[in-house]
């Protein structure tokens, strides 16, 4: 067992943190308040090669493994305070992973290069009003029609949806009663007749991330746009969710580390009653807990990434990591506000935005309650 990171990985951390702090935090207050997507920052991230991390070199990518990638995403989230932008980048990476894992040679040739340089923005279209974690309850359906398929139904909360040039849509291709769920995936391009979307949704946090409803009114999809095999959507979903939970956990850890350091700095410099507030055990304990959670979170994240790099499944580890780190982040945000007192409650301190963003972390990609259910099932309960 080797816990060390390579010189290259450590240099990449420094490079991404420096880039993120220099380029990605300007106008964040305005963008957060107005719900603006920072398109210029997105382009800078593309130039930085962040979308190309997991793309094979033959398609213009960097061909990195998941351990290096989660390390890079941690660095990004540590330096970049715009969690909505980081979420948008992770959504893009997840779509790239799916096209790379399940796409045909033609699909890879057409889309991977453009997705990896940010020329195309992608979204995964899975959640429906009555089908959240219960994916198999989805009603969006696909019927064979001539040489292709007709896609009908609606989706909700789709991250990157309003901006997406390419959407990976999951739809029922049968009664859905089998263990395989009868779900198939399709790639749908913007401007395809019958495909439309609602206005960006207003959210409590992650306001720079753009989410919307999507509508499919007998959208004609050619067979060559099917992603993976007919009826294999549930397996694609399970694979997608493991990658997503690993990448999201990495971003939560990056934010947690930033909040820990901010709290630590404040506890060392803020004085009350003639001494640093960090000398009070009630403050020191909060920071100690943040450090414990950060270090334990790294262990489960890197185990998760290592499993995926070995071509193994990480269903349990993905749920353990996602649950533990997202809850740790939310708790750390609350405690950081408490440590900062009245200043922490002010918008200019940024912690209130981190807290609003962190609440979403315990909801998307499976709520904490669902993660506990999955863990229990994996233990045989």
């Amino acid at each position: 067992m080797n816990f060390s990171l390579s010189d290259t990985q450590l240099l990449q951390w420094e490079s991404i943190v420096e880039f993120s702090r220099r380029e990605l935090n300007a106008q964040l207050h305005e963008n957060d308040q107005q719900g603006n997507f920072p398109l210029e920052n997105w382009k800078k991230c593309a130039e930085m090669g962040l979308f190309a991390l997991l793309t094979p070199e033959q398609y213009g990518g960097l061909g990195e493994d998941l351990i290096s990638t989660v390390h890079s995403i941690q660095a990004l989230s540590y330096g970049c305070e715009d969690s909505g932008l980081v979420h948008a980048i992770i959504t893009q990476l997840c779509c790239i992973v799916l096209v790379n894992l399940y796409g045909s040679a033609e699909q890879k040739r057409r889309f991977l290069g453009k997705l990896s340089c940010g020329a195309l923005i992608a979204a995964q279209s899975i959640t429906e009003p009555d089908a959240g974690s219960d994916v198999l309850a989805m009603r969006t359906k696909v019927d064979a029609a001539g040489p292709g398929y007709l896609l009908s139904g609606g989706k909700v909360f789709i991250s990157n949806g309003p901006l997406a040039d390419l959407v990976i849509v999951f739809a029922k291709c049968g009664a859905g009663k089998s263990a395989f769920g009868d779900i198939t995936c399709f790639l749908v391009e913007k401007n395809t007749p019958g495909y439309s979307m609602g206005n960006p949704l207003q959210k409590m946090g992650l306001r720079t991330l753009q989410n919307c409803e999507m509508f499919f009114d007998e959208v004609c999809v050619p067979e060559q746009m099917m992603l993976g095999k007919n009826g294999h959507g549930m397996f694609i979903f399970n694979e997608a969710i493991e990658w997503e939970r690993a990448l999201m956990t990495a971003s939560h850890l990056g934010t947690l580390e930033r909040i820990l350091e901010k709290s630590l700095d404040y506890a060392k410099t803020r004085k009350q009653f003639g001494k640093e507030i960090g000398k009070n055990q009630s403050i020191a304990n909060k920071i100690g807990t943040m450090k414990v959670n950060l270090e334990l979170g790294k262990l489960i994240l890197y185990k998760m990434a290592w499993l995926k790099d070995q071509g193994k499944r990480a269903t349990l580890e993905a749920s353990l990591g996602k649950l533990f780190v997202s809850e740790s982040l939310k708790s750390a945000c609350l405690e950081a506000i408490q440590i900062h007192g009245g200043y922490g409650y002010m918008q200019e301190c940024d912690l209130e935005r981190d807290l609003r963003d962190s609440v979403a972390a315990t909801i998307y990609s499976g709520t904490s309650e669902m993660q506990r259910n999955i863990i229990a099932r994996m233990l045989g309960l």
């Binding site: 263990a179 769920g181 294999h232 397996f235 499944r313 269903t315 994996m378 045989g380």
Partner: protein, 83 residues
């Protein structure tokens, strides 16, 4: 073809618990009887890969390969693993 005790025990105690009464036959349909649901099939694949050191590929993911203990055994035999 030999029955596989480890496989049968796993399905019976972990996946079928509370869903079937009595014994689990070699040819019982795991999907029709709803022993395998969406998470159950993932658990089963994980169990097979870890226990028999094989990789279940996309091509292996057919209803026929997972419809009964017998069909899973056949899949394992085709992959060169004697259950």
């Amino acid at each position: 073809m030999q029955d596989d005790t480890k496989l049968r025990d796993f399905i019976k105690t972990d996946l079928a618990r509370g869903k079937v009464t009595g014994d689990l036959a070699f040819t019982d349909d795991l999907i029709e009887s709803e022993i395998l649901d969406s998470l159950g099939i993932m658990k089963l694949i994980l169990f097979i890969e870890n226990t028999y050191a094989v990789k279940i590929s996309d091509d292996d993911l057919t209803l026929e390969n997972f419809s009964s203990i017998m069909s899973i055994n056949s899949l394992l035999e085709r992959k060169g693993t004697r259950p």
